[in-house]
């Protein structure tokens, strides 16, 4: 969580992108100069199914305000079935977060192909706006980890 | 093109006319073909175009025996007979557009009419 001079809330968003589709899609939105906010920081993973739900919880614990997970479209996974695992695992994680009272809109799974640079930028813009509206993540943040 | 009427027919029939690949098997199999001005495949196509008034005003509407041969044989599960039935419903719902009044029925009864023609009309309740 960061506050700039105008005290407008600037959320910190962690994006996990699979190497084959979404990371390439993010690169494409860069090549096409499609803007999205600096709030989004991308972490490259080989496949969306590499993302352990623990990574997402860890990000929240360390002060992230939103986490988005991007993978290949269902049926297009480079590893043939990885994103199906992702879909199931994240459904379970999200329902657990729901149960814990964490706003559903802080987490999201999106399918972005290597050709969808525009979709990647639009998704990030929209997600950042949505998280901005929700305000800072206070429920899961571990205050001991906060930057002094 | 009458959008409301088209929507009404599509909803009443529950048929996705866009699945039709225009093979004409429905008309090829239709026993009432020669009696009809508009044939089963034309029903489907005209409903898709929203061209429903000519169907409402055509006698073809009442020549369909609802024998469901077209439904049975359509390779793409379009169910033309249900489209015909839905157009009939649209006719019934428009006041003054009824094909006949109940009073006319007794004089129309024909001893030579095959029983099946009467009975098949009830198939629409089971399909």
């Amino acid at each position: 969580m960061q506050m700039n001079e105008n005290k407008e809330f600037e959320p910190l968003i962690v994006a996990f992108c699979c190497n084959w589709c979404s990371y390439a899609g993010a690169d494409l939105s860069g090549t096409n100069r499609l803007n999205y906010p600096t709030n989004v920081k991308i972490i490259r993973v080989p496949c969306s199914c590499r993302v352990n739900p623990m990574f997402i919880l860890r990000a929240f614990q360390r002060g992230a305000d939103g986490v988005i997970l991007c993978g290949c479209h269902p049926g297009d996974c480079h590893y043939t079935s990885g994103n199906y695992f992702t879909r199931r695992r994240m459904t379970l994680l999200f329902s657990m977060l729901d149960f814990l009272g964490i706003e559903r809109d802080r987490t999201r799974v999106e399918w972005v192909s290597a050709a969808e640079g525009a979709k990647f930028a639009a998704t990030m813009n929209e997600f950042t706006e949505a998280v901005k509206k929700l305000g800072p993540n206070r429920r899961l943040e571990d205050l001991r980890c906060r930057k002094q | 093109m009458n959008k409301n009427l088209k929507e009404q027919v599509l909803r009443a029939s529950g048929v996705n006319v866009l699945k039709c690949m225009r093979c004409g098997k429905c008309s090829g199999t239709c026993p009432s073909y020669d009696e009809m001005e508009y044939h089963p495949h034309q029903f489907v196509y005209m409903v898709e175009k929203g061209d429903i008034e000519p169907l409402l005003n055509s006698k073809s509407l009442y020549k369909c025996l609802t024998c469901f041969a077209c439904v049975e044989r359509c390779p793409r599960n379009v169910e033309p007979a249900k489209v015909v039935e839905a157009v009939r419903l649209a006719a019934v719902r428009q006041q003054g557009n009824n094909h006949m009044s109940p009073a006319q029925l007794p004089e129309m009864l024909d001893d030579d009419l095959p029983q099946q023609a009467i009975v098949t009309a009830f198939r629409k309740y089971v399909k």
Partner: protein
């Protein structure tokens, strides 16, 4: 203590225009473990790379972070540079500050701040990078082709040509497949046997090609370069090595009422049989379902007449095991069963035939010796109706959803051949669309219409009713003239949809390859890798991948062979070192990882462990085969005990990145 070097690239002005590269280099220089932090105009240039190489040597670096363009662009460049300087290439990390920072942001202050964070994450990750060495696994110099149709034969010939041994496994007693049953081929009308049988002979005489006819694959183990396959050689009750194919046994066999599958059951064969005159291998086979000797021990005629003593009633199924480097699947297709299409009366009249049956009826080696006669009364038909798309392009509940692709062309061929040979015969073709994309295909179809006067009618046949006078009443609608036609036909020919062979599905399970919902094998990429399956070392040839005509099949067969040869040429394959590995001390042997692995890379081994009390215990632990693992990481998340981890993207590395970003 780590000694990390950070190198920030300007990329001309691509990065430097929006990111204050000097400030980034300065800020990252203060990160723990960083001993040198530099910026440079073009890091990927020769001199930029030299900068990195010199720094590695000079400062004895243990890790390198390059803040530049996407790793998809230059990761390999910098890995090679590091390797050249003596640093393990997997100790290089890239922070993407061009595509994912400078190009999408406009404000220098926030973009620079983000670049520092991205650099910090890469530094945090490289702290935990381990040197990785790409493993190698040997390649067995032998290929297996499953299916002996034209696809399998062509693939085998091409692989043998390159000098590698090839085994063909064919479930029928002879190779040749569907093409052997076809009479003529479109669009040139040359005879199928005349072009196929020389290829069959070539395959049998090639010393590199080994044909296992009447055999099936029953088990596949292993991985690319190193498959172990079990082949069942079914008992044919004839010693292949002794039989000369003289055919005396087939002449003398008293059991003459066996439906002849080669002629689609249109005539009969004997219980001991050779499928057709040009069969390869030309060896007799005894059909145990009909042989009286095998059924009740009475007869033995064939064994008495065989001059070489090849008949062996006691023969058993044999299993052989062989190692292969590559496997090519060429299992082909079959026409679908037409039982559920009552309206065409296929089961009610023998004069309603499928197109493949018509091929046999017209073939010189067929049941009528090449004269087209009605199967029912052996009279010459004067009116023939062809029905297209029977079971193709249907809703899923009514048949196959795809276009079978070959029917339009073979129907035009049949119509043309009939009009040519019997000009007094009227031919009607009922079509929905005529699809003729292919070299000389549309010209061929137009010739059928213009030169041979075949009646093409737009509309599907609704109903075929056998009449008491032996004719077939065909009812169909002509959609263009808007009238219903009633034709009294002598024969009706149905263009049945084609489907993959039934053996394909169990085979796909054995090979751990993917199939679509129609049981066609799925290619690795629909456009760019059309002959490879997603499983390394398994290639696809012919109609097992989708409906295809002969030229396309042959082209794909050669393409699959080229891919297989490319693999067999290598002495060993370099493996991707970013693969999963399991910590045996933590693994509980629960099988969770094995179940999610799409490649079957994980197996379980019983391993002996020393216990604290100096005893030993045997525990079941997961073991990853690095040659098969592709590094997706699905198992790492499935593992409940955290024993499974992925090289290059380990749990601690990703966590460190998360922490660095959120700091």
């Amino acid at each position: 203590m780590q000694r990390i070097g950070v190198f920030v690239c300007h990329c001309g002005t691509n990065i430097a225009a929006t990111v204050d590269v000097k400030a980034v280099a300065e800020a990252l220089g203060h990160e723990p473990g960083v001993v040198i932090s530099q910026d440079y105009q073009y890091m990927c240039s020769e001199s930029g790379q030299n900068l990195v190489k010199n720094a590695i040597k000079e400062h004895n670096l243990t890790g390198v972070v390059i803040c530049s363009c996407s790793p998809r662009m230059h990761e390999n460049t910098f890995r090679k540079a590091a390797a050249a300087a003596g640093l393990n290439p997997y100790l290089v990390e890239i922070a993407n500050i061009r595509e994912q920072c400078s190009w999408i942001h406009k404000d220098i202050a926030t973009a620079s701040e983000k670049a520092i964070i991205l650099g910090r994450a890469a530094i945090a990750k490289v702290h935990l990078n381990a040197p990785l060495i790409a493993g190698e696994s040997p390649v067995a110099k032998r290929a297996l082709v499953i299916g002996g149709g034209i696809a399998g034969i062509q693939t085998a010939l091409d692989i043998a040509e390159a000098g590698f041994d090839v085994d063909i496994v064919e479930k029928q007693p002879t190779i040749g497949g569907k093409m052997a049953q076809i009479d003529k081929t479109f669009p040139t009308l040359d005879c199928a046997a005349c072009i196929l049988t020389p290829k069959m002979v070539e395959a049998s005489q090639n010393e590199k090609i080994h044909i296992h006819s009447f055999s099936e694959v029953t088990d596949v183990k292993g991985f690319v370069g190193n498959f172990t396959v079990t082949i069942k050689k079914k008992a044919r009750f004839v010693d292949e090595t002794k039989c000369t194919g003289c055919g005396l046994c087939t002449e003398k066999c008293p059991m003459k009422k066996v439906p002849n599958e080669f002629n689609m059951g249109l005539d009969n064969r004997t219980a001991v049989y050779i499928p057709f005159a040009q069969a390869v291998p030309k060896v007799a086979t005894i059909d145990p379902n009909y042989c009286m000797m095998l059924k009740n021990g009475k007869c033995g005629v064939c064994s008495k007449v065989c001059s070489v003593g090849a008949i062996d009633y006691k023969q058993q199924d044999r299993f052989i095991e062989e190692k292969y480097g590559a496997i090519v699947v060429a299992t082909g297709f079959n026409p679908i069963k037409l039982d559920k299409y009552d309206e065409f009366a296929y089961n009610q009249s023998p004069d309603v035939v499928t197109s493949l049956e018509l091929e046999r009826l017209m073939n010189a080696a067929g049941p009528n010796g090449g004269t087209l006669l009605r199967p029912s009364d052996k009279t010459h038909p004067h009116k023939i109706v062809f029905v297209q798309c029977v079971g193709s392009r249907c809703d899923d509940s009514k048949g196959k959803p795809y276009c079978s692709k070959i029917c339009c062309m073979y129907t035009a061929k049949h119509a043309m051949l009939i009009r040519e040979k019997y000009p007094d015969t009227e031919v009607y073709v009922f079509y929905i669309d005529v699809r003729t994309p292919g070299k000389n295909f549309d010209e061929f179809y137009r010739r059928a219409v213009e030169q041979y006067n075949v009646h093409y009618i737009k509309g599907m046949v609704g109903k075929v009713t056998p009449k008491s006078d032996g004719k077939l009443a065909v009812q169909a609608s002509d959609l263009l003239s808007n009238e219903q036609l009633h034709i009294d036909a002598d024969m009706v020919v149905l263009a049945a949809a084609i489907e993959p062979d039934k053996t394909a599905r169990p085979l796909a399970t054995m090979l751990t390859t993917q199939m679509d919902t129609n049981d066609f094998f799925t290619e690795a990429h629909p456009k760019l890798r059309p002959v490879e399956s997603a499983t390394a070392g398994i290639f696809l040839s012919g109609a097992c991948q989708g409906p295809k005509d002969i030229p396309e099949t042959v082209a794909q067969a050669s393409a699959a062979a080229a891919k297989a040869i490319g693999l067999l040429c290598k002495n060993s394959i370099t493996c991707n070192p970013c693969v999963a590995h399991s910590n045996e001390l933590m693994c509980n042997g629960c099988s969770s990882c094995e179940k999610v692995c799409p490649y079957g890379a994980i197996t379980y081994i019983d391993k002996e462990f020393r216990m604290p009390d100096r005893t030993t215990a045997i525990r079941r632990v997961a073991s990853v085969n690095p040659a098969v693992c592709q590094g997706c990481g699905a198992c790492t998340v499935a593992c409940p005990s955290g024993a499974m981890d992925l090289n290059g993207f380990s749990n601690s590395q990703i966590m460190a990145e998360v922490d660095a970003i959120c700091k």
